[in-house]
């Protein structure tokens, strides 16, 4: 059992318009996640500390936040890898609602805008559509997305231009554009050819670094750009 300091960005507009830093000393065991330490604060030190979480092992995407200045899932980063003093802030670029909890609606609006669903024409087959293992592998990486918003809110373009679709929406478009069963590529590419679309990307790679699922986000964005230029998917 050792002690670490959590320095947390607090904000509750019901109490004050101003955000502030608050530090908590938290006992941790080896192997504890940051989420365990946040729970310790909430459960035993200050019940008003507010953040989202659910699965606690990196699959539901609820608890993305800025940890020591970079986006992480609180449940997928271990205290021992973060040092003795850990700063925790809400994601940047989305409105903070309370403490570490941000408004996700702008993020989901961008997701919905790229038509994130399989588009096909004609009658569906009786059995499954056939797809070769190679065709299936083509878009495997982007099927891993858990919509945690770590990539989009790590993007400096997004911080300064909230009309930009952001990396996650492009990842989702990629997942369908490169699915051999899908027939909506043209439609999605047209959406992403917008001035707030893929061309905003300046390949900073922040998104790739931030992705807790290890998706090659920047690569996916470049593949969508290339599909726009060379018209093949």
């Amino acid at each position: 059992m050792t002690l670490v300091t959590l320095k947390i960005r607090r904000y509750d507009p019901e109490l004050s318009e101003d955000a502030f830093w608050q530090s908590f000393e938290v006992p941790v065991e080896s192997g504890d996640r940051l989420l365990d330490a946040l729970h310790h604060v909430k459960w035993y030190l200050d019940g008003s500390l507010t953040f989202r979480r659910s699965c606690a092992h990196g699959v539901c995407g609820s608890d993305a936040m800025r940890v020591n200045g970079v986006n992480r899932l609180a449940c997928k980063v271990l205290i021992k890898d973060l040092g003795d003093e850990i700063t925790v802030e809400p994601l940047k670029g989305l409105p903070t609602m309370k403490d570490l909890l941000v408004d996700m609606e702008p993020f989901f609006d961008a997701f919905r805008a790229v038509k994130p669903f399989l588009m096909t024409s004609g009658n569906a087959p009786t059995r499954e559509r056939l797809q070769s293992a190679e065709d299936r592998a083509r878009f495997d990486d982007t099927t891993k997305c858990i919509m945690c918003a770590a990539c989009t809110t790590a993007c400096p373009i997004f911080w300064n231009d909230d009309q930009y679709f952001g990396p996650q929406a492009i990842v989702m478009a990629h997942r369908f554009i490169f699915d051999s069963r899908d027939e909506g590529a043209e439609e999605r590419l047209e959406i992403l050819n917008d001035k707030e679309g893929v061309w905003r990307c300046r390949t900073t790679f922040n998104c790739t670094d931030a992705c807790p699922r290890g998706i090659e986000v920047t690569k996916a964005i470049q593949e969508v750009k290339r599909a726009l230029i060379f018209h093949h998917t």
């Binding site: 609820s62 399989l118 293992a133 099927t143």
Partner: protein, 577 residues
């Protein structure tokens, strides 16, 4: 300020079952989905290994074998008519998901690939069969994503972070629900002709669990407080392979791909317990075997309190392709490299076989024979019963798709058959207002987390894999004492905005109620069947206990009644593997 809304169909919960239901109901009736999370945060997304259906894409199979496995796996407590429906409709359920865009792994011929899973066999137990349709080890994630994508496509209306806290009945008919809006602290009354609960399980009554923090049995707790019974709550599944101490799930697909369980001697001990299926025996058998090994001193580590899941003999390429997520869990949380080192595991609380009793159209039963008009339930919250005393792996993803679909259709059909809504009862939000007021003003002499931890510890110690009359009585007494302490909890956050502290206090109330139902139901079942093992009654007793438990709330007590098991073609026989 209470706000009022009117819909034909209201669905509570946006996991697999809720969204599958919404896709049907939303295209046929004016539908709202209320969820305390965001749709893709549900624990369906944590399911890994696959969804079984007798597609016979890679070897001979048929749905009748699947039905038999389900019935035998459930230790014959399964309602066989329901299991037939599920296993027959499994094939279309998988094909429907593929057509919605789910990226299943593929065979060399381009068909949906299939792999082995615990308890699923060829020709009534001859050998393991490849029946599980999968997408690497994130099948649940992709089911959830695919269903959400379809909901977006069809414009399904979601109320995100709306926590439903009460069911409104009038004259025994469904009138609507009351929800608490997390963002504002406001109450909302949703009047609806049909209400479908799809709120999942209550794994958080246990300490070591694969379940999300948010799985607090809300739907079961709500209807139970409104006088509706809960069925077979003593049957709780412990998944054999949770990460040691943490409980994080490591899919049975790991053993389906060839993984082996080993004790401290390095022995493949499952050969002694299940000579035919070995490591792929059903979960109740494997979990008991693990604890038997540990009790015999053959556990691993300095405390000898776990065993190993050994994947080291499998090629790294196979682990990367078929089990990428769980191998990453081992690296992230344990610092272990599964290519070269075995993974320490222990059984982890995983799945409620019991729940809100329903028929095969997800209609909720108010007793052993009558339905509650307009009320439906599907998924883990419900007990159809297709899982009986022990659920087979993959059958939960199947359950949510088959009965989510059937429930959505039935809910919309009911709504469309009613000209008028059932009138709301007087002061519809009154009960919820009183509950929240009490928790806000409770004084706070007691701490929610402390009570929850104490509950989880007594449940782990006294009501898990092995049970006796004495341990269950201890658990019952502990829960009673904790319920008294719960009366004195209070929340320190006085705000209206995103008051998640208040939410946790409400959730604890449901956990305490459901733990009590589980323990009281388990005390009365003087036999061992499936996931319910009584050391003082170690054998199955079909003469006295081939029946479902029906638990009703009576004041602060639980009253038990029974419901017959539906048997069609399979007679109970000894359950060996």
């Amino acid at each position: 300020m209470v706000q009022f809304h009117t819909y034909d169909t209201v669905i509570v919960g946006a996991g697999g079952a809720g969204m599958r239901a919404a896709l049907e109901a939303g295209q046929r009736s004016r539908t709202a989905v209320l969820t305390k999370l965001y749709p893709t945060r549900s624990h369906t997304g944590a399911a890994q290994g696959g969804m079984c259906a007798a597609l016979a894409n890679v070897e001979e199979d048929n749905w009748e074998w699947h039905t038999f496995d389900t019935v035998k796996g459930g230790d014959y407590l399964v309602d066989q008519d329901a299991a037939e429906v599920m296993c027959r409709e499994a094939i279309d359920a998988v094909l429907d998901l593929e057509k919605m865009g789910l990226p299943f792994d593929r065979t060399p011929e381009g068909r949906i690939d299939q792999r082995r899973f615990g308890g699923h066999t060829r020709n009534h137990g001859e050998a393991a069969v490849r029946r599980s349709c999968f997408a690497a080890d994130r099948t649940g994630h992709l089911i959830l994503q695919t269903l959400f994508q379809q909901c977006v496509k069809h414009g399904i209306e979601f109320y995100n972070e709306f926590y439903v806290l009460d069911l409104l009945l009038n004259g025994g008919r469904t009138a609507g629900v009351v929800a608490y809006e997390l963002a504002t602290g406001e109450l909302h009354v949703f009047q609806a002709k049909s209400v479908l609960f799809a709120t999942g399980g209550f794994g958080k009554v246990f300490k070591v669990t694969s379940n999300a923090h948010t799985l607090t049995g809300d739907g079961m707790g709500i209807v139970f407080r409104r006088g509706i019974p809960l069925e077979d709550m003593e049957f709780y599944q412990f998944h054999p392979t949770g990460i040691w101490k943490m409980g994080i799930l490591l899919t049975e697909g790991a053993r389906g791909e060839g993984g082996i369980l080993r004790n401290s001697d390095g022995e493949r001990f499952m050969e002694r317990y299940a000579p035919t299926l070995k490591d792929l025996a059903p979960r109740d058998l494997v979990s008991r075997a693990i604890y038997t090994e540990i009790r015999a001193g053959r556990g691993c580590g300095s405390a000898r309190d776990h065993v190993y899941l050994d994947l080291t003999h499998l090629p790294p390429e196979q682990l990367d392709a078929k089990l990428p997520d769980i191998t990453e869990f081992a690296r992230t949380y344990l610092g272990i490299e599964p290519y070269t080192d075995p993974i320490p595991i222990q059984p982890t609380a995983h799945y409620a076989m019991g729940g809100i009793p329903t028929d095969i159209d997800a209609r909720v039963l108010r007793n052993s024979t009558e339905v509650v008009p307009g009320l439906f339930a599907a998924g883990e919250v419900a007990c159809v019963s297709v899982h009986g005393a022990n659920r087979l792996g993959t059958n939960s993803l199947l359950d949510i798709n088959v009965f989510g679909r059937r429930g959505g259709l039935a809910a919309a059909a009911h709504a469309n058959s009613q000209v008028h809504h059932v009138e709301l009862p007087d002061d519809p939000a009154g009960q919820v207002e009183a509950l929240l007021q009490r928790l806000r003003d409770g004084g706070g002499q007691e701490n929610v987390a402390a009570i929850r931890t104490a509950l989880q510890e007594t449940m782990d110690a006294h009501a898990s894999v092995y049970r006796t009359d004495a341990t269950l009585r201890q658990a019952e007494a502990d829960i009673r004492a904790l319920q008294v302490r719960y009366e004195k909890v209070g929340v320190s956050d006085r705000g209206q905005r995103y008051n998640t502290e208040l939410l946790e206090a409400v959730e604890l109330g449901f956990l305490l109620d459901l733990a009590q139902v589980l323990v009281v139901s388990a005390l009365a079942r003087h036999e061992s069947r499936g996931g319910h093992f009584r050391e003082d009654f170690p054998t199955r007793d079909d003469v006295h206990f081939m029946r479902h438990t029906m638990a009703y709330r009576e004041g602060t007590d639980v009253r038990l009644d029974h419901k017959p098991v539906v048997q069609t073609r399979y007679q109970p026989s000894e359950r060996t593997y």
